[in-house]
């Protein structure tokens, strides 16, 4: 720890395979050391650290004082015994902790990696890896250090990594080596590689790397794309080679992990403040007594000198007073006994063990029990107000399952009826030998529909098997492994596979699937890749018959806009289904296709190619091109994927929020996914008044959005609080109340429900719908004065806030943060998406800074580490994603739902126990110590103690420690199940009611009162009393024994009153302590000890001669009664007049009344949306919910596929082989286009990154037909090509799903549409015009209803949601 740090690097130079050269720079080695001590340094360093604790130093100081005979009012051992005890306990604990750190360090440092040394691969431990080494990584290995990727076994130096440990994103990422090094390939070539890398110094930016490679006189730029960072796992890549750039503590992972902060609980801090106050109090008492001593020595002591001359150094009363001050400091130091700290630690340790032992927090799936890794934070668990949760792996299992689907208006998927036994899982194997055995589906109607050959169903699954970027690997025949970039894509392809449309393999230009047992190869003409704005992806394929079809899947909001108008009816049904799915928290995708004619295709592909080649605004042009073709599609249906939540997550969140804990989700995921999960785990509910989405990209817009949100809140809450008599607002409120979420519920409840609703809130006839409360016009009016925070605190209504990572970055800026906190804290739920690990920590810090609240962060991945570390309490989810989070955490368990038990049961109890413990502890020490103060007035302020010195030594560590420890460890006010039943019981902890300054003063007052009684009652009685044999009782020893006994009895009675839960242990400890007191006292006063050490045990015989006196017992009894009765009366009154909830629960328990309904459980929820709710917002919310677009993946994979970069020759060969027999058409096609066909592998070599169409099948020349021309044709062709769909729509299809009145309406709309569509064609000559006219279409469609909604909708992110419209229709 005293190692000198080299000066900060300015740049890093690393030469490959040249250790001598690299050693010059003294880069950190790859050895990671988190331990603090070794065997030799342990004692000095540990003692040094311990004496940095103020308390320990203080006691050392006291010890030194006691060694001065003129001052020493107590023997040295009264201090040294406890001090030694404390130091050794702490040392043992530190040693154990450090031992485990050593162990884990060793484990990491001793991981093996293959290092290229002098041309050969050698196994080396991680710790021996040096900067500049070349190491080989194999599949599924952890990356040992930050590496520059040199080459890989995959083509083009590509390799795949999973960065879950690093940033929590579970999708795979691609890294590519610089082309020159990727050719190096095998170890022999690499051994001679002597490139030099010059790059930035170590930093913590995970997504940025900037450097240059100098090799063979050329320069190559290096970016993050070339880097493999420590903590990543290599996936889907056989092996790769990398050059170590940063090692050990310099790696981005370690740089990101932040410094370990010593966490203190708020009780700790309060305790420290109080201890300081007590020190102040102590000094005051010392001063008072010293002044008393000065006066006394002057007035009396000086006269008494003939009997007791002053000690030699003392020559006047002032000096005597000075010494007396220190003497009293020694005596009175027991107001803050050292055992306080030890006892607190012991209690916390006990609570930690209870957490470790809790069977209800044991997860048998992972065979992990909960673990309290830090033993010092337990009571803080009872005060948590904010929980920051990661999403993936914490709330969700990160398992996607294809759950439901809607095909052509028919919904399939399990009907979750909790009453019925769960239906049998479908067995696919007899039907489909290629089925994935792990796939679960329960609805056999879907399978039947596939079997009978329903065209739509087939097309549906065909789409799923074609439209994706999954790579397949077929190790042996039929044993398919899909490498999906995102788990949801994998789930979809797997679903298709099980329903008979097995995706087998792909080449850059083909996709081979096995359709119902028949292999079919499609020509892949283009992949219209996914991106965040498009929220959809399409493929254009040519089937063996030569028909070209575009398959598209994507977010319904975007897809529905691009459907052919005659899909209206189907769209309504499907969107009803989608609403249902969304309400269940499923991630939905809508699927559609479009048939393309050859001409259309060729025209488009030409324009596409132009766009791809454009140098400026390529992205925009491409997007426009995509937009152009993805039109007039025919809806197939929708899928619903369940992002499986961890068990019990919604319940846990519900209970926690009833306990007034605010839950923030901080996730690296996309907004849609995050919001979706928010709904599915009931953080966001339909009852919420409003959900605000902040996604501005600039400071200004973020500020505006935040302010707007706040204004809305105030507005709504004013509306709510103020009278809302009748009028438009009232009507709206009622309407909203009945129909929480637009069409979603209407659809779910079916036609009848819709009719009823109409009765409930009929639109005022003849008048246009009430103008929605204007959502603030875009140019913000001059800022209203900052709403006072009290106003914001009293916001009624439930709001939620969703904020994007880039907006968050602005919101976290210094001048914005207050505003952000103000807004966010008024919301019931906050979801931050797309946040970086650092931002997570910043958010936590922000709340810590602005709110005096206890924060808890829970997460499972390495990306949560910083947040876990910066929160007051960090909880790691173990057993899922690695152990980084667990290692950084304070508590770990394997299921999110254990959080409720951790907080509501363990935390609550810990807090309660700790508070009771502290109250009692301060009380008992004041009662004990202040007696000396009163005695000072009678003993000439000479610092004479009241008690025997052994009593003083043992009082805190023996006589009174165990009962209070037992209470501190075992006490329970209400049984555990009650604290889960009544989450409101958690509130006292958050409000810090049980131990605060007020409580402290009450305790102190009680202690002082007790000390007064304990001194003056014996004084009054004994000063005159005699034994029955005539000997006076007023001697010092009798007085000491009497007072001590009275004290022990009083504090024992007091602990008996405080103990609410008398287990055997409490009994043993309380009675045992009393017994112990008498036993030890008799032993100390026995003649045996006296005869051995006459000067040490001069109380010989006091115990027996004192305790045999009835007067003494009468005195003790009197003192006890006087001490206890007021307390008893006070407590009784408090309980009787102002019972706390816990008292009530306890009382109920006691009286065994019939159990009542949980308090507060049903609170909230029902009140729904009274007051005005912006229609536009509602629409926005609908859309945000609905677009739970099930893609977690990134853009760019389509490009990789079409360029064939990510395909191995072997797999290509396999694919061609697989498709050969069935796809001779492809060969003919190839021959036809011979001149322009490239073989895929060679094509990919120099391929520019741009267009993701397949060059092989593109017509050679761009025709003169414009983009428009192509689209003009489309409707016509569509009409001819899709009769089945059309007819299906005309059929009065599943009337059960459609409210009868709506069917003719939409049909009419469908007819209506024809004219605007035809009008549109000549007019629209640009993509912009196109969209505009689309808007017109929609207006025409819903014109009579939609205008108002649309106006307000313009401020919301999405176009007006169809769901909303339909609900209005009804």
């Amino acid at each position: 720890m005293f190692r000198k740090r080299p000066p900060p690097e300015e740049e890093r130079r690393v030469r490959a395979n040249d250790r001598e050269y690299n050693e010059k720079f003294q880069y950190a080695s790859n050895c990671i050391m988190t331990s603090k001590y070794n065997i030799i340094t342990f004692l000095p360093v540990n003692l040094f650290e311990q004496f940095q604790e103020v308390a320990n130093t203080y006691f050392l100081f006291l010890l030194i004082l006691q060694l001065i005979p003129q001052i020493s009012s107590l023997s040295w051992f009264t201090t040294i015994v406890p001090l030694a005890l404390v130091l050794s306990i702490t040392a043992v604990k530190d040693a154990t902790d450090d031992y485990f750190r050593h162990k884990s360090d060793n484990q990491v440092n001793n991981r093996q990696s293959q290092v290229l040394i002098r041309g050969s691969l050698q196994n080396e431990k991680w710790m021996n890896v040096r900067v500049g080494d070349i190491i080989k990584l194999e599949n599924n290995q952890f990356v040992a250090a930050d590496l520059l990727l040199l080459s890989s076994t995959e083509p083009h130096g590509l390799c795949y990594i999973e960065t879950a440990e690093l940033d929590g994103e579970t999708n795979m990422k691609v890294r590519q080596s610089v082309s020159v090094t990727s050719e190096l390939g095998d170890p022999n070539n690499l051994a001679t590689f002597d490139g030099e890398v010059v790059c930035e110094p170590p930093n913590n930016k995970l997504d940025r790397f900037c450097g240059t490679l100098y090799w063979r006189d050329s320069k190559y730029g290096l970016t993050n794309q070339n880097m493999l960072l420590r903590g990543c796992v290599l996936r889907n890549t056989e092996a790769c080679y990398g050059l170590v750039i940063f090692a050990g503590p310099d790696t981005k992972l370690m740089q990101n992990s932040g410094r370990t902060k010593f966490k203190r609980t708020s009780i700790d801090r309060l305790m420290n403040t109080l201890v300081l106050w007590i020190f102040g109090f102590l000094v005051c008492m010392g001063v008072i007594l010293a002044v008393g001593n000065a006066v006394w020595e002057r007035e009396v002591g000086s006269l008494f000198q003939s009997y007791l001359p002053w000690d030699p150094p003392v020559d006047n009363f002032l000096f005597s007073a000075f010494l007396s001050f220190w003497s009293y400091v020694i005596i009175l130091n027991t107001v803050v006994p050292i055992s306080l700290y030890v006892s607190v630690e012991v209690i916390r340790l006990g609570h930690s063990y209870f957490i470790n032992w809790d069977r209800q927090m044991f997860c048998s799936q992972f065979n992990t029990a909960a673990e309290a890794r830090t033993t010092t934070l337990n009571e803080e668990l009872g005060q948590v107000e904010y929980i920051f949760s990661d999403k993936t792996g914490t709330l969700t299992q990160n398992i996607m399952s294809f759950n439901k689907c809607s095909i052509n208006g028919q919904a399939y998927g399990e009907v979750t009826d909790p009453l019925e036994p769960p239906p049998k899982r479908l067995d696919f194997t007899p039907f489909n030998p290629l089925a994935d055995p792990d796939f679960c589906f329960y609805d056999d109607t879907l399978l039947e529909s596939v079997k009978v050959g329903d065209l739509h169903t087939h097309e549906f699954f065909r789409l799923l098997s074609l439209c994706h970027t999954v790579m397949s690997e077929e190790k042996s025949e039929g044993e398919l492994v899909y490498k999906a970039q995102s788990p949801d894509e994998g789930a979809l392809v797997t679903a298709a596979r099980n329903f008979g449309f097995v995706f087998r393999s792909r080449t850059p230009g083909t996709i081979t699937i096995t359709e119902m047992g028949r292999p079919v190869t499609y020509t892949l003409l283009a992949i219209l890749d996914f991106n965040n704005i498009r929220k959809r992806m399409s493929v254009i394929v040519r089937n063996p018959e030569g028909r070209i079809r575009l398959y598209c899947k994507g977010a319904d909001t975007l897809l529905f806009e691009r459907l052919h108008p005659c899909n209206q009816e189907l769209m309504n049904i499907t969107s009803d289904h989608l609403n249902e799915y969304a309400a269940d928290g499923l991630r939905t995708l809508a699927l559609a296709y479009r048939d393309l004619s050859e001409e259309e295709w060729e025209a488009w592909s030409e324009s596409h190619r132009c766009a791809g080649k454009a140098t400026d605004c390529r992205e925009d042009r491409l997007a426009a091109a995509y937009e152009q073709i993805e039109q007039d599609m025919m809806l197939l249906g929708a899928t619903a994927i369940e992002d499986k939540l961890q068990e019990g997550v919604p319940e846990t969140i519900a209970i926690l929020s009833l306990a007034n804990i605010k839950i923030w989700v901080l996730t690296g995921d996309k907004q849609e996914t995050a919001v979706n999960i928010g709904y599915s785990c009931k953080m966001l509910t339909d009852d919420m008044t409003e959900v605000f989405i902040i996604s501005g990209h600039t400071v200004q817009s973020v500020r505006q959005e935040l302010r707007r949100a706040r204004e809305r809140m105030i507005e709504v809450s004013r509306g709510r609080d103020g009278g809302k008599e009748g009028g438009v607002e009232g009507w709206e409120g009622a309407c909203y109340n009945g129909n929480g979420f637009g069409g979603g519920q209407a659809g779910a409840t079916g036609g009848g429900g819709g009719g009823e609703k109409q009765l409930q809130c009929p639109p005022p006839p003849g008048t246009p719908p009430p103008p929605p409360p204007p959502s603030p016009p875009p140019p913000l009016p001059p800022l209203p004065p900052q709403p006072p925070s009290t106003l914001m605190d009293n916001i009624s209504g439930e709001f939620a806030l969703v904020i994007n990572g880039h907006s968050l970055a602005h919101a976290l800026e210094a001048d914005m943060e207050a505003e952000f906190v103000l807004t966010a804290c008024a919301c019931k739920a906050v979801i931050c998406c797309r946040v970086t690990p650092l931002q997570k920590a910043l958010v936590v810090e922000l709340i810590k800074k602005h709110k005096k609240a206890v924060t808890l962060a829970i997460g499972d991945g390495a990306n949560d580490v910083s947040m876990i570390k910066s929160a007051h309490i960090g909880v790691g989810i173990s057993g899922q994603e690695g152990i980084q989070a667990v290692l950084a955490s304070d508590y770990s368990f394997s299921q999110f739902r254990f959080l409720q038990r951790l907080l509501l049961v363990h935390g609550r109890w810990s807090y309660l126990r700790m508070c009771r413990f502290l109250c009692y502890f301060f009380y008992k020490n004041f009662a004990f110590t202040m007696v000396h103060f009163w005695f000072g007035f009678f003993c000439g302020f000479s610092a004479q103690t009241v008690y025997d010195q052994y009593f003083i030594t043992l009082y805190n560590i023996v006589y009174t420690s165990l009962p209070v420890l037992a209470m501190g460890i075992f006490d329970q006010d209400v049984p555990e199940q009650r604290s889960l039943e009544y989450p409101k019981l958690y509130e006292p902890g958050q409000l810090n009611l049980l131990f605060n300054k007020r409580e402290f003063f009450i305790c102190i007052a009680q202690g002082i009162y007790t000390s007064v009684v304990l001194f003056f009652v014996p004084y009054a009685v004994l000063s005159d009393a005699t034994q029955s044999t005539g000997e006076p009782l007023a001697d010092y020893q009798t007085f000491a024994v009497t007072t001590a006994t009275a004290l022990v009895i009083v504090v024992s009675v007091q602990i008996a009153l405080d103990t609410g839960f008398w287990t055997v242990i409490n009994h043993v400890f309380v009675w045992g302590s009393l017994g112990c007191y008498f036993t030890i006292m008799f032993a100390m006063h026995s003649q045996t000890l006296f005869i051995i050490f006459p000067n040490q045990f001069h109380f010989v015989g006091s115990a027996q001669s004192t305790l045999l006196q009835p007067v003494v017992w009468l005195t003790i009894a009197l003192a006890t009664v006087i001490c206890i009765v007021p307390v008893l009366a006070f407590r009784f009154l408090k309980l009787d007049l102002k019972p706390q909830l816990s008292d009530t629960v306890r009382y109920t328990q006691l009286v065994r009344q019939k159990k009542r309904k949980p308090v507060g459980r049903s609170m909230g929820g029902v009140r729904g949306g009274v007051g005005s709710v912006s229609e536009g917002r509602l629409g926005a919310r609908g859309s945000s919910r609905r677009s739970g677009y099930a893609f977690a993946h990134q853009e760019g994979f389509g490009e990789l596929i079409t360029s064939g970069k990510n395909m191995r020759l072997s797999s290509l060969a396999l694919a061609t082989f697989a498709s050969r027999h069935s796809s001779s058409w492809i060969d003919t096609l190839r021959k036809k286009k011979h001149a322009h066909t490239h073989t895929p592998p060679s094509a990919s070599g120099e391929c520019s990154p741009a267009p993701s169409y397949v060059s092989g099948s593109v017509p050679p020349l761009s025709t003169s037909s414009s983009v428009l021309g192509g689209s003009q044709d489309t409707p016509v062709e569509e009409g001819t090509h899709t009769p089945p769909v059309q007819s299906a729509q005309v059929d009065p299809v599943p009337s059960t799903h459609t409210p009868p009145p709506s069917a003719p309406a939409s049909e009419a709309a469908c007819v209506d549409v024809v004219s605007p569509t035809s009008v549109r064609c000549p007019g629209g000559d640009s993509p912009g015009g196109w969209t505009l006219s689309l808007g017109m279409v929609q207006e025409a469609l819903f014109g009579w209803k939609g205008i108002a909604a649309r106006t307000s909708g313009s401020s919301s992110p999405g176009p007006p949601s169809v769901a909303k419209e339909t609900s209005n229709t009804e």
């Binding site: 069977r359 000479s942 004479q944 009685v1021 029955s1028 006459p1094 007049l1137």
Partner: protein, 356 residues
């Protein structure tokens, strides 16, 4: 933590299902309900009051007489004489006369009392060597440093007993004289032994070992030690009448060495010897005088000296505080109990939460 178990199934690390570990120990959770608290208060009140009454009655049967003799009677001359330390060695006797109007029945205890004498000062109390007093030769010869400055005399001889406590021993002696009705004067016989705790007399204070029956046994035992500075005679000559009451086991010394807790105290001087008439029943009514050998100076510390005569009951001498305190406490508890009952009756929630 959990012991390593033989089975390594999926539940191998599951914590034990013991009541202790799962915090389900059977327990008694008492609560302060009106049913328990109010009856308890009434009981306590009654109990305290009964006890108070009983004690009061008992105390009424005791008698006590206090007599400040610092300057009383002929003692004012001695008081003046003792003001000057140089007269310390000159004897001074005086007499104080007092009547007893009501006979002291039963055992009568004779105390001397000091006021404003701080035996409870820390340094004073420390200034003694119990190892010496228990007769350890080593400590006899080299007393503890705590005894300073009364550790060695000016010749460097160790002082026995050393320390400020022993040095300041109360050295007045008293003779109680009964002036009978016929003008006769009878010396009231007092036991001058049995004044100490058993443990003090038999364990805490021992003389140094010496050969029993040898010539000059005591002086030999204490050979090589000096008497404390303020003493008139060495420790082995404290009781001229009873040779066994000498050395460290002298009862007056032991009584003195048991330091008082407060600056005003009394110490037992003697017990009425009731073997002979007229004292078989206690002290009869009549005039008494105390002949005092007035040695102990109190002027230095503005102290007072007194003698106390008292009879005792089962719980000791006259002590009015205890019964009165019990009566008052009992009364207050009763009052409190009534108030609590009223409050409970009128406003009590019976454990129900207000919010509901």
């Amino acid at each position: 933590m959990a012991k390593e178990k033989a089975n390594s199934g999926p539940l191998a690390r599951r914590p034990d299902n013991s009541a202790f570990k799962q915090q389900r120990l059977p327990a008694w959770s008492p609560m302060l309900t009106a049913n328990t608290v109010l009856p308890f208060f009434y009981c306590m009140a009654v109990l305290c009051m009964l006890l108070g009454v009983w004690l009061l009655v008992t105390v009424q049967n005791t008698q006590e007489l206090k007599l400040d003799y610092t300057e009383a009677g002929t003692c004012n001359a001695c008081f003046a004489k003792r003001e000057n330390a140089s007269n310390a060695l000159q004897p001074c006797n005086c007499t104080v006369v007092f009547p007893i109007e009501k006979a002291f029945k039963g055992n009568v205890f004779f105390y001397y009392g000091l006021r404003n004498f701080h035996q409870n000062l820390r340094r004073y109390m420390d200034s003694r060597d119990d190892a010496q007093m228990v007769g350890r030769k080593k400590n006899l010869k080299s007393p503890s440093t705590y005894c300073e400055p009364f550790e060695k005399d000016e010749n460097g001889l160790p002082i026995a007993p050393c320390g400020a406590v022993a040095n300041s021993i109360f050295n007045d002696s008293f003779t109680l004289v009964y002036h009978g009705s016929k003008g006769s004067t009878i010396h009231v016989p007092l036991y001058r032994s049995g004044l100490t705790w058993y443990t003090d007399k038999n364990i805490k204070y021992r003389n140094p070992k010496f050969v029993v029956g040898a010539l000059q046994e005591y002086p030999n035992a204490f050979a090589g030690t000096a008497k404390p500075l303020y003493w008139h005679k060495p420790v082995y000559e404290l009781d001229p009448h009873n040779p066994d009451n000498n050395g460290f086991i002298n009862e007056d010394l032991i009584v003195w060495m048991r330091e008082a807790a407060f600056p005003n105290f009394k110490k037992l001087y003697g017990i009425l010897n009731r073997v002979s008439e007229p004292f078989t029943e206690g002290l009869p009514v009549g005039n008494y005088s105390i002949e005092i050998s007035y040695n102990f100076p109190v002027q230095y510390f503005r102290g007072r000296k007194e003698v106390v005569l008292t009879t005792v009951t089962w719980f000791g001498g006259q002590n009015h505080f205890l019964p009165i305190a019990y009566l008052v406490t009992g009364g207050l508890i009763l009052l409190l109990a009534v108030i609590l009952t009223v409050i409970w009756w009128k406003f009590g929630k019976d454990g129900k939460n207000m919010k509901e």
